[in-house]
Structures are given as structure tokens and as C-alpha cells.
């Protein structure tokens, strides 16, 4: 099967998955106990006012029409209006998503760079103490609840030593002219440091272990022995040949991780009061702002599905050994 064929099939699968998740979501919101209308209607409202409100959010339509409009809405990126603020849901996403992306990309880059380096070293020194410590470190990183690490970092460096800001993205008197101006400022960097590093600490375990495992597999292959036999320096063998070959799965894993970490940053955003999309989703869920909860979830799921798709294509493009069945 050709690469084009694979890509087409994979695209079809992408659409199917998104549709299924959207349908699941729609069903879930209609199955839940209580009526979504109870949030928007107050006891003191006149009956006709209540009806008007219900109609405004399209909740008076028959179920199949609501479902159709929901799907059309997703395709046209029209995710409805917040119960809470009358803002368009996509407007809300546009406010908070970039903040999450900056935090997440920073953390991912740090995590993957250090993870790959440590993983390579660990594999090279296999059987030695340094490998064991690296593996243990990686497991510790995955095991420590990220919000707890965040709390402790805040407790020590924020409350006690007072060297990092306790919350937020910028200082009070800093008024950036644009998003770009903000993220390139020192003030922002100072605020970004702690949450990004805590998140990176948590995310680093996975690439570290993955890199180590891939390295070990590559090192057990014949061509490494050939390289050695050729008399290449150990360092050259390690970085140029072994690490290079072991890196591919880590790259695709990184692409997938981008998708998952958009939603995975929720806890860190909560601890550090980072105005991100995850925290916004939690808040929407807690105050029953269903359009926002629904819209942000679709967005988070789409990020995952699309990045999985990208990773698959990337993998098939980069690895000549992959067959398309």
C-alpha cells in the first residue's frame, strides 16, 4: 500500500474518531442528572423569560436537531455561547489556549531535551549505578503528583525564599502591547519558569525511559557491532549511530505528547494560577457552563487526535521500515 493511500485512510480514521468523540460528548451532556437549563434559569424569572432563555441556547429544539447543530457547530468552529458570560466559546478558547501552549511547549522542550540526553547516557552505561539512578529518577518523576511538586516548589521558593512569583503570568504593572511582546519579555519568563520546570520535571520521565529502551534495542542490533569493529570511537558510535536511530520513536512520542499535554497541564495551571485552557475547562465544569465545558473538551480531544495523526504520518515518512497494513 502506498504512502498516499495510508495517509488517506488515516485521515478517514481521524474524522471518524472526532465524530465519535463529539457524539459521545453530546450524549454525555444529555444523560447527566439534572437539566442544563437549571443553571441559566433563576427562580425569580417570569415563565416567558425562562422560555426565551431556553430558546436562546437552542435547548428547546428536538434532540436530533440539537445533535445536528452541535456537529455543524464543531465543523464550522462555532461552539456556542457561554451561559456564564455571553462570550463566544471560541473567543474564550482564543484567550486561554495560547497561554497553555506557551507553557506546554516550553516544558516539553525542556523535558525532551534533558530526557533524551539522560536516556542516552543511561543506556550507554547500562548495568551501572548511573543507569539505575537514571531509571529511578524517571520513575520518580512520573510518580510524584505534579500538583504536589508544584505546591512544594511554591512553598519553598515562593512563600519561604520569595524568589519566584506565587501566581499569574505577568506582574501587575506590566502591560504588554501584544501577545508576542508579552511572551518575549523577561517578566513573563520569570513567571513562566516555575510552572514550566515543574511540568517539565513531570514530563521528562517518559522520554528518558523511552530513549533508554530504544537505545538498548538499537545497541543489541548488529550494525552497532559493525561500527565498533570498524574502530569508530565509542562516543561517535553512541551519538552518531545509536542515538540517531533510537531517536525516531522519541520524536513521534513527542508529537503525541503535545496533544495530550494540552489537557495534562490542568493541575499545574491550577497550582500556579496560570490562565490556561485547562483551568478554564475545570472552572466551566464546576459552574455548569456547559457550552464552554463542551467546547474546550472538544478542543482538547481534537488536539490529541490530530497530534496522534501527525505522529503516525511523521513515523511513516521518517521510518523506511514501516509497512502500511
Amino acid at each position: 500500500m502506498s504512502k498516499i493511500n495510508f495517509a488517506v485512510r488515516r485521515t478517514f480514521q481521524l474524522v471518524l474518531t472526532l465524530w465519535a468523540i463529539a457524539t459521545l460528548l453530546f450524549a454525555m451532556f444529555r444523560l447527566m442528572p439534572g437539566d442544563p437549563t437549571t443553571y441559566i434559569i433563576a427562580e425569580t424569572m417570569e415563565p416567558e423569560v425562562q422560555e426565551a432563555l431556553i430558546a436562546r441556547y437552542g435547548l428547546d429544539q428536538p434532540m436530533h436537531i440539537q445533535y445536528w447543530e452541535f456537529l455543524v457547530g464543531i465543523v464550522t468552529l462555532d461552539l456556542g455561547i457561554s451561559f456564564h458570560s455571553s462570550r463566544e466559546v471560541r473567543g474564550i478558547i482564543a484567550i486561554y489556549l495560547p497561554n497553555t501552549i506557551v507553557l506546554m511547549i516550553t516544558a516539553l522542550v525542556v523535558a525532551y531535551v534533558f530526557g533524551v540526553i539522560l536516556g542516552t547516557i543511561a543506556a550507554w552505561n547500562r548495568g551501572e549505578g548511573s543507569e539505575k539512578s537514571a531509571v529511578f529518577l524517571a520513575l520518580l518523576q512520573q510518580s510524584t503528583p505534579s500538583f504536589w511538586t508544584g505546591l512544594i516548589v511554591l512553598w519553598i521558593f515562593g512563600a519561604y525564599l520569595d524568589v519566584i512569583p506565587m501566581s499569574g503570568m505577568t506582574s501587575r504593572d506590566f502591560r504588554p502591547e501584544s501577545f508576542f511582546h508579552m511572551i518575549t519579555s523577561l517578566d513573563f519568563l520569570w513567571h513562566l519558569m516555575a510552572p514550566a520546570l515543574v511540568l517539565a520535571f513531570y514530563m521528562m520521565g517518559y522520554p528518558l525511559l523511552l530513549m533508554r529502551n530504544n537505545m538498548l534495542e538499537v545497541l543489541s542490533e548488529d550494525f552497532i557491532d559493525v561500527c565498533r569493529a570498524k574502530g569508530l570511537k565509542e562516543r561517535t558510535v553512541m551519538y552518531k549511530h545509536a542515538a540517531r536511530n533510537a531517536l525516531l520513536p522519541v520524536v513521534t512520542a513527542g508529537a503525541i505528547a503535545i496533544g495530550y499535554s494540552v489537557g495534562g497541564a490542568i493541575l499545574i495551571e491550577t497550582v500556579f494560577s496560570w490562565p490556561g485552557i485547562g483551568r478554564e475547562m475545570v472552572r466551566a465544569v464546576l459552574r455548569r457552563d456547559y457550552p464552554v465545558a463542551q467546547g474546550t473538551f472538544v478542543m482538547l480531544a481534537a488536539a490529541v487526535v490530530i497530534m496522534n495523526f501527525v505522529a503516525d504520518l511523521l513515523y511513516s515518512w521518517l521510518d523506511p521500515r514501516v509497512t502500511y497494513d
Partner: protein, 557 residues
């Protein structure tokens, strides 16, 4: 408010030993009834069926930690009286909806603020018809003809004394029948940096209204002559027709927009602050307003025409937040350049000011004309008629208001700045550094108490507010349909202990449905309950219920 009028001798919270003294009401041993020597147990042969169990809804701890704790303590006491209560923790919106929309609950506890006048609360809560239709306010299921009469009298009379008598009688009835029972009075607390701000005016609505904004004095250590506060989540929409119920919006709208009427600290019409400087009542179905004039923040003229327009929108569109007001208003007419006449569709007496005038922000006609429905608009750059206007607003981060120099009143503060700070720890951190200079949404807490003790730069202005932390009872649910059971529950609430232990003495015990803050409307002589488990049990026994080792029973057949 000066320091010396506040309860100076706050309980030394770290001195644990003293706690036992105030806990007399809790003296019964935990566990089963028989352990308590004071209990006068009845003969088991007299006992019929045990009283059925009922649910007591609790909010999650993180939603309101103090209240969560308070409910658990009360429930423990009710259990010890011999009543079978089950605490069920529900997520806040679910809890509210189960009680308010579905009338499906046993007991619940929360805080409520009837506002500048109790008329609306009384009407909504106790009108008999409202008990039959879930969602209309009478979740207690309290139905009484005399109560219905009294509600009409206090709504319609133009005679102050007659109104006072009616409202006093309502308080007596509520205290006897206990559809609800107040536990603690909500104080309005305003912790602030005393090196930056002063001049707070005590007002039943708290410290975030125009009355305070125009009176606050700015001290030397205030670097930019501003009020600097916080909110824990984003401000999203500055539409005056939407979300006025959210305090975060009300606090800012009070600075941004004109209201048709403000009440002064004595709950009288404030002629200076109100856009309508004169209010006349030619008859009980008409209100005539004479208005100030001025300019909107975009330079357009602001006058009575805008007021007439505002009420016309109310009549035409009935925006949901103002639907109660709208249900009374029939016509709105501009009589001359500065006079508006509002026609009502039913007689309203003294309560008209609170129902018709106080809730309304004046909306600029040139902005809103042709917009339908007004409440759906997203307003990000509001045209303002009040003392301030929006200078900078980043939805996820902060908002900055600045003073308008063409407003008709003089005042000292040059702006209001709010930053979004979700974490309490960070709030107090910033407060200690002076970065924020008032605790915008203060609740009794260990942080507040410790700052009060240790921080010289903090003072707390405080005044009795309009609300209480109270208990709602569903009178439809057995055994809560029995008056004696409800009274026994009221007896078992250790109000003073809760005030001391959980609320650090900031909120005092409350006894009457109408708080003392309403002045003459408050009835100081309502039935008070003993905060005693013994009284609770006696009440049950006097009513014929039988208390044995395993709790309270109906009498045997």
C-alpha cells in the same frame, strides 16, 4: 469603621483550652444517646416507629470550608439529639438546583443577602402559591394564610408603622414555625491597609458601592491613589443588563454606571448619589423621577431620556436579571427634559424603591437603541455614566478603571485595579507587601484572624450586613413536617460555639429572620433557642415523641 467598635477581644485562637468553655452546647458525648447522663430516656414500650432519616446537604469543602465545617458540627449535634440526619456533600450547582429548582431536599445551609429591603425575599420565600411550583422560591413548602396577608400588607402599605408591624409578625411566625432558621449574621468585612486607605462608610450593602467609592480617603502611602484588589476568576462581560447578580460585576458596575437610585447608610434615598435626585409618589401605582444630567464617557449627553429608555427596554424585553422589576412596570414616559413617570401595574407601597428603582443601572440610549435582546450583548468596552471608566482590561489577567473628571461628584480615589488571583495564599502575600490594599472578598478565616492579630498595617471596617448563614428546612419531608422536630433542631445548633470556633468571632449568632441591620424592621423579641441538646430533647418529648437508646420515635399507637 474604627477599630474600637469591632469585637476587640477576638478569641485567642491558639489558646486551645478556652475552647471548652464555649462549647457547653456540645457537651454531650459523641456516640449513642444513652451515654449522656443528662438525657431523660423514655420507656421503650412507649416507642412506636422511629422517626425517618433525612438529608442535610453540605457544600464541598473547597467551595466554602467554614460552612462545610459548620454543617458537619450541626449535623453531629442533631444526631446526638436522637434524630437521624445524613450529611450529603453535593457539588454547589447541583445542591442549589436540588433545593431551589426541584424542592427536593431535607435540610440545607447557605448564606443569603436580601439586600436593601427584605420585601422581595419575603414575597418569594413565603407566598403559599410558590410552594406548589418548584423554582418559584418557597422551597420550604411553608403555607399559611396569615403569612400571605402579611406579605401583601408589607408590600402595599404606604404607612411605615403598619409595615413594621407586619414584618415583625412575619419574623415571629418564622421563628415559631422554622421554615428557615438563621444561624450566624453575615458581617460585611473590609480588611484594608490602614496606611493607604481610610474613610469607609458603614452600609448594609457592604463597602463596594458608590457610597464608599466617593468617600474613601487616600493616604500618603498609596502610590497611585487607587483601590487595588483581586478577584479569583476572570471578569468576562461588562453588560449592565446581564450578570448583575455576580458580586464581582456589581462591585465594578457600581463605579462604572449610574444607578437610578442609591440608598444612604440609613436606607433612605441618597439624593446626591442617585441619578434620580427627587422621587415622588403621586399615587401607589405611579413613580415620578427627576434626574440629574451629565455626560457619558463617550461625550454624549446623559439625562432623563436615558432613564425613560432604560425602563422602556425593561417593558419591551424583560431582561432576565430584571424580570422581577419588569413584572411591576407598565409604562415609562418622559414628562419633560429631566422628569420621568413610571407607571406600575399593581399598587406598591414603601417597597417600591427597593423593587423598581434600586436595581436599575441607567443604560445609555444612544448605545443600546435598537439592540434586542440587550442581555445577549458582549460588552468589552462599556460606555459608562458613573464615576469611572475602563482603562485597561485583559480578561484573563486584570482590569483597571480610572476616574472620569467630568462626573458630577468629587472623590479622592483615582482608579480601581483588580488582578485575578485564585490562590488565597497569594492574595495575602500581595496584601502584606501592599501590592493590593484591600481584601476585596473577605471571609472569616485563619488568615484574616492572624493578620488581624499580627499585622499593624491592617484594619478591618465591619458592619452588620443584610444576610445570614441559615438553615433551610423542607417542611414537606417527614419528620421535618413536625414543628417539634424543627424546633428541636433549632435548639441543637451551637450558634455561639460556631461563631467562636469556626468563624473566629467575626460573625455573631443570629436569631431573627430580619437582621438588626434593617433598623426598625428588625424584631428583637422573637423566640430564641437554647443552643442545648437537653432543650432539644425536651421539646421532642413534650410534643409526645419518645426518645430511647436508639433515637427518637413516634409515640406507640
Amino acid at each position: 469603621m474604627p477599630r474600637d467598635t469591632s469585637p476587640v477581644d477576638r478569641r485567642a485562637f491558639l489558646k486551645k483550652a478556652t475552647a471548652a468553655g464555649g462549647a457547653a452546647a456540645l457537651a454531650a458525648n459523641a456516640g449513642c444517646i444513652g451515654d449522656d447522663e443528662d438525657t431523660d430516656l423514655d420507656d421503650e414500650d412507649d416507642a412506636g416507629d422511629p422517626l425517618p432519616s433525612f438529608e442535610y446537604f453540605n457544600n464541598p469543602e473547597d467551595y466554602n470550608p467554614a460552612r462545610h465545617d459548620l454543617i458537619n458540627i450541626i449535623a453531629q449535634n442533631i444526631q446526638e439529639v436522637g434524630l437521624d440526619v445524613e450529611v450529603e456533600v453535593l457539588e454547589w450547582a447541583t445542591l442549589l438546583s436540588a433545593v431551589v429548582d426541584e424542592y427536593d431536599f431535607g435540610m440545607s445551609t447557605w448564606s443569603q443577602f436580601p439586600g436593601v429591603d427584605p420585601a422581595l425575599n419575603i414575597t418569594s420565600r413565603y407566598t403559599s402559591d410558590h410552594a406548589d411550583e418548584p423554582g418559584t422560591g418557597n422551597y420550604h413548602g411553608y403555607q399559611d394564610e396569615r403569612m400571605d396577608e402579611l406579605i401583601d400588607i408589607q408590600n402595599e402599605t404606604l404607612d411605615f408603622d403598619e409595615r413594621v408591624d407586619a414584618i415583625h409578625e412575619i419574623q415571629d411566625m418564622v421563628a415559631e414555625e422554622i421554615p428557615m432558621h438563621p444561624i450566624l449574621m453575615e458581617m460585611e468585612l473590609m480588611p484594608h491597609r490602614n496606611d493607604q486607605l481610610d474613610g469607609w462608610v458603614d452600609h448594609i450593602e457592604g463597602y463596594h458601592r458608590l457610597t464608599n467609592y466617593v468617600n474613601i480617603e487616600v493616604l500618603d502611602d498609596n502610590p497611585d491613589n487607587q483601590l487595588r484588589g483581586y478577584w479569583t476568576e476572570a471578569l468576562e462581560n461588562m453588560n449592565v443588563w446581564d450578570h448583575a447578580g455576580l458580586s464581582k460585576h456589581q462591585h465594578l458596575q457600581s463605579a462604572l454606571q449610574e444607578r437610578v437610585m442609591w440608598m444612604d447608610p440609613d436606607l433612605e434615598h441618597d439624593e446626591e448619589l442617585s441619578f434620580a435626585h427627587t422621587i415622588e409618589r403621586p399615587d401607589d401605582e405611579t413613580i415620578v423621577l427627576e434626574c440629574h444630567d451629565g455626560t457619558w464617557s463617550d461625550g454624549e449627553e446623559k439625562n432623563a431620556e436615558d432613564v425613560a429608555f432604560t425602563y422602556q427596554v425593561l417593558i419591551d424585553q424583560t431582561p432576565s436579571q430584571n424580570s422581577t422589576t419588569a413584572s411591576f412596570v407598565e409604562s415609562s414616559e418622559l414628562i419633560d427634559d429631566d422628569t420621568v413617570e413610571i407607571g406600575l401595574n399593581e399598587p406598591l407601597g414603601l417597597s417600591a424603591e427597593a423593587l423598581i428603582l434600586y436595581p436599575m443601572y441607567v443604560a445609555p440610549q444612544h448605545v443600546w437603541e435598537g439592540v434586542d435582546p440587550v442581555e445577549d450583548e458582549l460588552v468589552e468596552d462599556p460606555v459608562t455614566g458613573g464615576m469611572m471608566t475602563v482603562d485597561y482590561w485583559d480578561v484573563g489577567q486584570e482590569i483597571q478603571l480610572v476616574a472620569r473628571d467630568d462626573f458630577r461628584l468629587d472623590f479622592e480615589i483615582e482608579g480601581i485595579f483588580w488582578q485575578i488571583i485564585p490562590e488565597t495564599a497569594t492574595i495575602w502575600e500581595n496584601f502584606e507587601r501592599g501590592d493590593i490594599n484591600y481584601i476585596t472578598f473577605a471571609q472569616p478565616s485563619r488568615e484574616l484572624y492572624e493578620a488581624d492579630q499580627e499585622m499593624d498595617e491592617m484594619s478591618i471596617a465591619e458592619v452588620e450586613g443584610s444576610g445570614w448563614t441559615h438553615m433551610n428546612i423542607n417542611m414537606r419531608e417527614p419528620p421535618l413536617d413536625e414543628q417539634a422536630v424543627r424546633q428541636a433542631i433549632a435548639h441543637s445548633i451551637p450558634k455561639d460555639t460556631l461563631s467562636e470556633e469556626v468563624y473566629y468571632d467575626y460573625y455573631p449568632a443570629a436569631h431573627s429572620y430580619i437582621n438588626p441591620s434593617y433598623g426598625d424592621l428588625h424584631n428583637p423579641d422573637v423566640k430564641q433557642y437554647d443552643q442545648s441538646l437537653e432543650s432539644a430533647q425536651e421539646t421532642l418529648q413534650d410534643a409526645g415523641f419518645v426518645i430511647t437508646d436508639d433515637g427518637a420515635h413516634y409515640p406507640a399507637e
